[in-house]
Amino acid sequence: MNPSAFSGAEDSSAYLTITDLSMTFRERKQEEEVLANIHLHVAKGEFVSIIGPSGSGKSTLFHLIGGLLQPTSGHIRLEGQEITGKVGHVSYMPQQHALLPWRTVRDNVILPRELAGQSRAKARKESERWLARAGLGEYARSYPHVLSGGMKQRASFIRALLSPQELLLLDEPFGSLDELTRLDMQRWLLDLWEEEKRSVLFITHSIDEALLLSDRVYVFSNKPTTILREIQVPFARPRLEELPLHPEFVALKQEIYQSMKAERASFT
């Protein structure tokens, strides 16, 4: 299948549109092509995941969308407006929580509001509700070091939610958590998202996680990364806890796993 065929004709409802994006790093006359002809889009209120092998340039893609890097070619547009190489248009949740240790949990989550010029007092007031939703109400005035790994990720996610930007970029947010906490966090995120319906682009290397949370999934290949497949996740929302046991879910998971495996085999 031609990777550009399925998303070539962009529907105008798309919120984020990435067309023909390529990225090549040059270091000491050595060229490394990381991304090749990536086409993808996220509609408003859509949860889209990217699965790919580790080292497949997923984080580079986020740095490009976030405007930290200038692509070798291609365009990134937000509601039709060019944002290629421009910062400040997306809300980002990094792999490591990146909470500031000298700020209380509350003052950490209101940081994006502060950066946008809102007053601290107002943002603090608004943060109360969200901290309560994350089970962090009683930790509002504590420093991040007293929080557990899962709590830190929740605080980091609340911080991303409080950003004025519509699109959330979540970079393997649960990658460093133990299995049980990870399942809890997926459930928590799912419930919260199904109420909020923000536009999300989510990086993960867990097929389960991608299928459980997303509306659509892009499967990335190895470097130079292209899109292997785009999958519309057929399960109705709200998604139930038992969903991963559903035969259709297992079959889809198997299918994705096979195509990733086949790609790896052809690669080596």
Binding site: G88, H89, P101
Partner: protein, 258 residues
């Protein structure tokens, strides 16, 4: 519990110190060492008590120029570091020179400063500033350079301005580094003050040392040395206290690094 732990920490070194003083006293008494070569701890203590008020006046004078010089020197250090960090290209040009100038022991400039500026306050301030600003600058620049990469990515992607990035991320992040620089320059500033006084001053511990040297009064010399040590430790503790008050949850930061 905390008091017990604190005692457990402080008792062993105190014991060693007491043992050392006892050994010193015993050795001087046993060998009958002449007091102008090595006075006994007891003799030093007696001299210290006898000249207490004179010592105190001189210590006050030394502490005065130390604190003023330390304040000016540290401020210069912070300003230099911030400028080098904030203005693109400045660090590349000036930092290597800064390192190089510090291979010159700045203390050797003291006599020259006397020729240029005389015996007043100005050459003393210049000398202390010269020895103080470097550790502060280097520590702070190091702190800026070590700003957590994922926090920096977060700030930049969020569209933080350069000023927001500096005041909300880089500066607070570098505060612990700043304080380790301040602790070093606190002790340097005492040294700078004493040497400045050797070059010529009306009062101060350095002046006391010079007159003790001229009269072979080793006991007075030791009293002065102990006064300098105490001044040094005092200033160091003041900086450590300020660090505790200002760098909130500093314990947590240590944990973050682990």
């Amino acid at each position: 519990m905390r008091a017990v732990r604190w005692m457990k920490g402080i008792l062993p070194p105190l014991g060693v110190l007491a043992g050392f003083l006892l050994l010193w006293q015993a050795a001087v008494m046993f060998f009958g060492t002449k007091s102008w070569i090595l006075p006994s701890p007891l003799a030093i203590f007696r001299e210290g008590r006898a000249s207490y008020s004179r010592l105190f006046d001189n210590l006050e004078s030394t502490l005065g120029i130390t604190l003023l010089g330390f304040a000016i020197g540290s401020l210069v250090g912070v300003v230099v570091a911030c400028l080098l960090h904030a203005i693109p290209g400045m660090k590349a040009g000036f930092y290597p020179l800064l390192i190089m100038t510090q291979n010159i022991p700045t203390i050797v400039l003291a006599p020259l400063l006397v020729i240029w500026f005389g015996f007043g306050l100005l050459p003393k301030m210049i000398l202390i500033t010269l020895v103080c600003f470097f550790p502060v600058s280097v520590a702070l620049l190091g702190g800026f350079a070590r700003t957590d990469a994922s926090m920096l990515d977060y700030f930049r992607m969020s569209g933080a301005s350069r000023a927001q990035q500096f005041f909300k991320l880089e500066f607070p992040h570098a505060l612990p580094s700043l304080f380790s620089g301040l602790k070093i320059s606190a002790t340097y500033s005492v040294m700078g003050a004493v040497i400045a006084e050797w070059m010529g001053a009306e009062m101060g511990i350095g002046v006391l040392m010079m007159s003790a040297k001229a009269t072979y009064r080793s006991d007075r010399m030791f009293v002065s040395i102990f006064a300098v040590i105490i001044a040094s430790m005092l200033l160091f503790s003041l900086v450590a206290l300020a660090e505790k008050l200002i760098v909130r949850s500093s314990g947590s930061r240590e944990e973050e690094r682990r």
